[in-house]
Symmetry: C2
Subunit: 328 residues, 2 copies
């Protein structure tokens, strides 16, 4: 366990003051070239690396943003992670990922732990339903950007995707192809995207006099619940099924495959295209396509702006999904 070398070790070695060393490593003042050389040589020679914690402590800047994410195993969110990382990297800001597993307690706990002093700001895809629950843990001095899911009465920036129109169009499409019994699997009830999408399904079905509440299965936004719901829907004799998110859609594909059913032939599937994953394989289902990468990019940019200027007023940006039927 070698001793860790500090700025004063470098100063001593180079025969200058710590201030001078600081000037050269930060390029923050003019330094005589030969002095700079001496210092840089000592740095290399001693293997000095500035202690980031000390630096953050002093400057209050960490160049670190936390992304609070419900499920890193969901391709939608991993795509989001990558696009956010990319934007932040342009300003040399790193992304710290905190995985809540769709659990309120974990979300609140993780935010709480990291809130004071560790990061410069938060991007949050919250699993919490409304602002009341969240408020106690939100540090008032840090920027927050909410992404993907809208929190009721939340006075911060948000970037979301509206899927209502696209999903209505999708259900219309199924109906126009003659489907009458169309099953639906929802996500976690408390989440805004789940509500919006369910409403799209319900409104469209009702408009055509086809709505039947027993065709709606209440899922959990994760894959586990799908198999059972799928079975119920099949048992009820549905000829088509719409599914409230990507991961459940992917699971439905798998489970249909296991039963020897071919999507788009034996039963028509309307799902969500969220991440790269689905682009590659799933060409035989109708899709609601979210601009996932763009969502991350917009959120990342917003965070960068807010870091620059914390006093901007909050804004809510809504991107639009679009419907793309399978061209079989």
């Amino acid at each position: 366990m070698a001793k860790v070398v500090s700025i004063s070790d470098v100063a001593k070695d180079a025969g200058v003051s710590v201030a001078t060393v600081s000037y050269v490593i930060n390029n923050t003042k003019q330094v005589k070239p030969e002095t700079r050389e001496k210092v840089e040589s000592s740095i290399r020679h001693l293997g000095f690396r500035p202690n980031m914690i000390a630096r953050s402590f002093k400057t209050g800047k960490k160049n670190l943003v936390a992304f609070v994410v419900p499920d890193i195993a969901n391709n939608f969110f991993s795509t989001l992670i990558e696009s956010i990382e990319q934007v932040l990297a342009s300003q040399n800001v790193k992304l710290m990922i905190l995985n809540t597993k769709e659990t309120k307690e974990r979300e609140l706990d993780l935010i709480n732990v990291v809130a004071n002093g560790v990061v410069d700001g938060f991007i949050v895809a919250s699993t919490v339903e409304n602002y009341k629950e969240l408020k106690p843990v939100l540090p008032s001095n840090l920027p927050f950007v909410f992404i993907d899911r809208q929190i009721e009465k939340c006075p911060y920036d948000s970037i979301t995707v509206n899927c209502y129109n696209a999903l209505c169009e999708g259900v219309e499409y199924l109906i126009s192809k003659g489907h009458k019994k169309i099953g639906y699997i929802t996500g976690l009830s408390r989440i805004s995207t789940t509500k919006e999408r369910l409403k799209a399904y319900e409104d469209t079905m009702k408009a055509h006099g086809l709505y039947n509440p027993s065709l709606v299965m209440v899922g959990d936004s994760m894959r586990h619940c799908v198999d059972e719901h799928l079975q119920n829907i099949l048992d009820m004799g549905c000829t088509a099924i719409a599914i409230s998110n990507n991961i459940m859609g992917a699971e439905a594909m798998i489970q249909m495959n296991r039963r020897g059913l071919i999507p788009g032939k034996d039963i028509e599937l309307l799902g969500f295209l969220d991440g790269e994953e689905l682009q590659y394989g799933f060409h035989n289902i109708d899709l609601v396509c979210q601009p996932t990468a763009e969502l991350g990019i917009v959120a990342g940019k917003r965070m960068l702006e807010r870091l620059e200027n914390p006093d901007m007023s909050a804004s809510n940006i809504v991107l639009q999904a679009k419907f793309e039927p399978y061209k079989g």
Copy 2:
């Protein structure tokens, strides 16, 4: 942007010294109950949260470990993340995830950025081939635990899974069922797991006089490469195909599905079961099963031990995968 309250604000408000406040928030000395109460009331009242950076700066302890991971979208790694998180949580240590996307430069850069002062240690699933490349960025004063992939000549702890025997058994099994032309898709060549698995395939095929180098497709451990390789293997008339990791296996399933081919019927598939994902759906392929969660647990524990006692000598732990044929 409200003012952030510090320990001295609390001290002032409660009419005690900063030391006393520190004692109550850390439970590090006896404090008279009524004093404690006063302090706790001030803390609640002012909304004080200890500045973690300042604390880390002072104590040198961050309770934060970095996990350097090649691809968070790969279920194998997200399972690993969850099991590591779980173990670390028992000591109140948090996990920071750094995503390299199988890119050496990103890996070296990210380690470098976080090396000094941000974390207490690193768990690394490295995409780098050998220790020489890695060495310049490794801070000598921090613990490292290498996981999943073995780095040549690396003098640190490692926890890996040996799949050689299980994959040999799997290929034997295919051969015993009468398959003679068995295609193979490899992972990224530089990675230890890729090498080990390829060797298992080659050794077994050779032992039966069935080896033919043109049946081997060089992949990249990600899904993108699979479709083309799969086509080649089908064109060559293979009746079975073995695939070097989970994500490429999943992609092969999807692409077969797209072609209307049923795994285990039209062509036999030998893949890897790594994460939860595959447990749910893929019941019609033969599988090499890695103890993924256990891998994470062992690595997490090792890190915790090392944090406790940095001077332990390095150890290399190897877990064993096992082969499980599809029982159709």
